[in-house]
Amino acid sequence: MKTCLVVDDSKVIRMVARRILEGLNFSIAEAADGQKAVEACEKQMPDAVLLDWNMPVMSGIDFLRKLRTMRGGERPVVVFCTTENDMAHITEAIGAGANEYIMKPFDSDIIQAKFSQVGLL
């Protein structure tokens, strides 16, 4: 079973994403901000990260940059999932090492399509 770390400061979003991804046979861990996500990755590097952009303490983009410098941090497939839905943010995220990008609002079809595209399903 593949593991996915869901990083979002909204408990509701984490719950919805968990439900969708568990339905796709992922084992889920959660983090409420980028710093907590770093700590989670230090303990166990996930196969995938579903990542919000705007969060307290450490943003998603700062987490991503940190992740890619960590030992084994090149391995997780990172899919942004954010309300930042303009080309500038998308370009910045892909430039920082994101593999895919979901613009909120999302649904299970979009999550499934994006995770398929990056070879997670």
């Binding site: 839905n85 892909i94 398929s116 595209q117």
Partner: protein
């Protein structure tokens, strides 16, 4: 809708579009046509059916357009497009090296995601196609849908169902809350209104035909007729793509499945680009 009106309506729709409606689809008819009743200030389906019985072309067009299903998305099911790029296209490039032309038909293209996916794939392969004349013809029965396809404007939801983010970055521009595919890609596709019950030879002859997720709406006789007409509009060694839930088996003898891959068919007894089984060719 009254039962005798529904009987008339379902026969009329099948004759005009090939679409088959069971009596269990009454709810579908009413949900699709209610917006038109409001638009035309008609109090009931009786008036609409009366207009259809009279042969009012404007009413007939909008009603048949409203009954079509227009679900589509970019890179739908992904594998057929990977096969197109990695196997079908190289074979056709070899087989057409002297002529240097390639004609592709996206039949029942809906809002354009399929032909634009093909156009993006071909643009990615532009180096191999230098000096080639490549045409993508995309058709649909519904005029309004063709207009939408031609505009190439999609919602955020539509560009997230199947379209890799790199392709969005490369070939789309944000226009308010919508995303428009580039003029360059739009210019690679010729959209035309076309009914699959008609003879497609008026569109010319094609090397590849995508007719995916359309036949499922037709009965066996109509499916056979559509497939036989497509066969006559294809190059002898061309490729036909059908949807994952569709087949030619037991419906049309003109095509046979190409061994090794699901959903791709060649004309029976023909030699050339489609004659070698895919997996055998890959090993060779």
């Amino acid at each position: 809708m009254k039962p005798d009106d529904f009987s008339f309506f379902s026969k009329w729709l099948k004759d005009r579009t090939g679409l088959v409606l069971g009596t269990d689809k009454m709810y579908l008819v009413e949900s699709r046509l209610t917006p038109l009743l409001r638009k035309w200030n008609m109090g009931s389906f009786d008036s609409m059916v009366a207009s259809l019985r009279k042969g009012d072309e404007a009413v007939m067009r909008e009603v048949s357009d409203a009954m079509m299903t227009h679900e589509s998305f970019f890179y739908r099911d992904i594998k057929p497009f990977e096969l197109f790029r990695n196997t079908v296209l190289p074979r056709l490039l070899a087989a057409r090296a002297a002529k240097r032309t390639l004609r592709i038909w996206s039949a029942a293209c809906s809002t354009g995601q399929e032909p634009y996916t093909l156009a993006m794939i071909l643009r990615e392969e532009a180096a191999k196609l230098a000096g080639w004349k490549v045409e993508i013809t995309a058709t649909d029965i519904a005029r309004e849908i063709i207009d939408r396809a031609r505009a190439g404007m999609y919602t955020q939801f539509e560009v997230q169902r199947g379209l890799p983010i790199q392709m969005l970055m490369k070939y789309f521009k944000q226009q308010g809350d919508k995303w428009q595919i580039s003029a360059d890609i739009r210019g690679m596709v010729q959209f035309r209104e076309f009914n699959l019950l008609q003879d497609p030879r008026t569109l010319g002859t094609f090397d590849v035909v995508f007719c995916r997720n359309v036949l499922i709406y037709f009965d066996q006789t109509t499916k056979g007729g559509v497939l036989n007409r497509i066969a006559r509009a294809m190059e002898p060694d061309g490729f036909l793509y059908l949807g994952g839930a569709e087949t030619v088996i037991g419906i049309c003898d003109a095509f046979a499945p190409l061994p090794g891959e699901r959903g791709v068919y060649g004309l029976v007894g023909k030699q050339g680009a489609s004659a070698v089984p895919f997996k055998q060719a890959a090993i060779a």
